[in-house]
């Protein structure tokens, strides 16, 4: 199976390795050699291999733009109304309400290169392209905070020490919106969009504890569930 993506691919790769599944993985991340530069979407060294690929390409591209926007609470806390998610009655009115369309556009811009890559695969690859939804949010703020501190991140510089983690309800909405952006783009491109494995989510839509990896990623057990989905869609 062919997998293209960034950090969310790691859980799948770990699962594949433990299960002895052969995975042809190509990393597309800001610091990776295949990351687009200049006008060319695909680097020449990738194109040579790309033209010889056969079978379904699975994409786990993107999936962190929502975390860039709202994992850590902002100096001036914000929120937005998602038209398909009921806003909690207790929502703090002191937060700045940002228009849904503005949040959506901002995520689209942050995820811009990933969306262009997805489009590039869809348009240039003669075979099937399937996109995997990024894993859900982890509800537990303590786990996220500790995970960030453990990575050696400067808590003062990032605002984590002063402002903390954004409320789970906001992070959930941002994740949903990020997913919807990819789902919409998939529909336009004729790419199959595969939602997260239903077994991995709690009733309120968060990642179940046994699938937690680090603050923004799932683990190999989650990867196994996704790998099973990939087999079904291969």
């Amino acid at each position: 199976m062919i997998l293209v993506g960034g950090s969310h691919a790691t859980a799948i790769r770990q699962a594949a390795r433990s299960m002895g599944v052969d995975l042809n993985f190509h990393v597309f991340h800001r610091n990776s050699p295949l990351w687009p530069s200049g006008k060319e979407l695909f680097q020449p060294e990738f194109l040579a291999e790309f033209n010889g690929l056969e079978g379904t390409i699975f994409s786990s591209l993107g999936g962190n733009s929502h975390n860039v926007m709202g994992l850590i609470e902002h100096r001036a806390p914000f929120d937005f109304v998602h038209p398909r998610i009921k806003t909690k009655a207790k929502t703090d009115d002191d937060r700045t309400w940002v228009p849904f369309s503005a949040v959506k556009q901002s995520i689209e811009q942050t995820a811009g290169t990933f969306l262009r890559l997805l489009q590039g695969f869809a348009e240039r690859y003669p075979g099937r392209v399937v996109h995997l939804q990024s894993p859900p949010q982890i509800e537990d703020e303590t786990f996220i905070r500790q995970g960030i501190v453990d990575k050696g991140t400067d808590a003062r510089k990032t605002g984590l020490a002063k402002f903390g983690i954004a409320p789970a309800a906001l992070r959930y909405k941002l994740w949903r919106l990020n997913s919807e952006i990819f789902e919409e783009r998939c529909a336009e491109l004729g790419v199959k969009f595969v939602p997260v494995p239903s077994a991995s989510i709690t009733r309120s839509g968060f990642l179940k504890r046994k699938y937690w990896g680090d603050p923004t990623h799932a683990n190999a057990a989650y990867g196994k569930l996704v790998l099973e989905q990939m087999r079904q869609h291969a």
Binding site: H74, V81, S101
Partner: protein
């Protein structure tokens, strides 16, 4: 004046006060007021933005959502009645019955129908945004030291039931027009004067020392709902507004009229200050207006150059991006 080059004509002569470089200037009005707001910002004056975009939004997204066009996201305020009702709404003294207009599946605010591109995605979103907006409107007028208001139109459409006045005709951008629900009005001089006087009273209650600069938009009407030619309606509308501005500036202390209308439309310009559509004001015309504005109505001296320090938005987004990327990098480094 016939012997002068058009751009040398200066009809201001004198102006009763000057805008300080650090004084908070709040702007509102019709399209032409946008030019004034832009120049104030560019020249380093304190064009006060009370309804700022959240730092999470990228600048181009914020601009597209009409943040920073005026001091709050009220969009164009064409009539004196709109200004008066905006203040009443901000104080909670007037709640119009017309809560929203539908445009497809989106919700428009009837009092600023073009403020959010495409409209709001839910009624709840519209309500929250409006509540926040009106709070910021009140804040803007409380904080202001100078208010620049451009009078634009006398023609408008109102709700027959409660008199709420709309910036555009219902049914054009959203909602459904019904002659039973909406009525056309062409405000008389007496009505414009009364609306402006009540608005100024309300502003001065919030802010007794507020200096007010009135201008009349030189942009002609695009259409008229009167049974006459649009040229005739334009002349009447601009005449009413011009007389109202003059009367207010004579009768009320610290209310001044700035003659941008004359600078753009006067014979000296030979029509050059209008674009090919004969409505839009050219950049050359705006420059002439603003040059005289800064010469006569603004504090002298070089404009302070705004510091190029990274904005709060960039600093915070960079920090948040760094956290997300550190986590992603770590995840990529650990594939076993």
């Amino acid at each position: 004046m016939g012997g002068l080059a058009g751009e040398a004509v200066d009809p201001v002569v004198s102006f009763p006060f000057r805008v300080g470089r650090t004084e908070r200037v709040v702007t509102a009005g019709s399209c032409f007021a946008q030019h004034i707001a832009r120049y104030l910002t560019e020249q380093g004056f304190n064009h006060y933005i009370a309804e700022r975009p959240h730092t999470v939004l990228r600048e181009e997204v914020a601009r597209e959502h009409n943040y920073g066009m005026f001091s709050a996201r009220y969009g164009n305020i064409y009539t004196a009645r709109q200004l008066r009702q905006l203040l009443q709404r901000a104080h909670g003294r007037f709640v119009p019955k017309e809560e929203y207009w539908l445009k497809g599946e989106r919700y428009l605010d009837p009092f600023r129908p073009q403020i959010n591109p495409g409209g709001f995605h839910s009624l709840e979103e519209l309500r929250r945004d409006r509540k926040q907006h009106l709070e910021r409107v009140l804040h803007a007028f409380k904080a202001a030291r100078v208010f620049v208001f451009t009078l634009g139109l006398t023609e408008a459409w109102v709700d027959r039931e409660d008199g709420a006045v709309f910036p555009i005709c219902p049914g054009v951008e959203g909602g459904t027009f019904s002659p039973d629900r909406y009525a056309f009005v062409n405000f008389s001089l007496a009505e414009v004067l009364l609306d402006m006087k009540l608005a100024i009273q309300a502003l001065r209650r919030l802010n007794p020392k507020l200096k007010i600069i009135l201008t009349v938009s030189p942009v002609p009407l695009a259409a008229t709902a009167e049974d006459r030619h649009v040229l005739v309606s334009t002349t009447l509308s601009k005449s009413v507004l011009r007389v109202a501005a003059d009367t207010l500036s004579r009768e009320i202390a610290n209310v001044a009229y700035f003659p941008s209308y004359e600078i753009i439309t006067g014979n000296h310009a030979q029509g050059r200050y209008f674009d090919r559509d004969l409505r839009s004001v050219t950049e050359e015309g705006v420059r002439h207006v603003m040059r005289l504005f800064f010469q006569h109505a603004a504090e002298e001296g070089e404009a302070p150059v705004p510091a190029k320090a990274p904005s709060a938005r960039l600093r915070e987004e960079d920090a948040a991006r760094e956290v997300a990327e550190v986590l992603c990098d770590e995840a990529l480094l650990d594939p076993t």
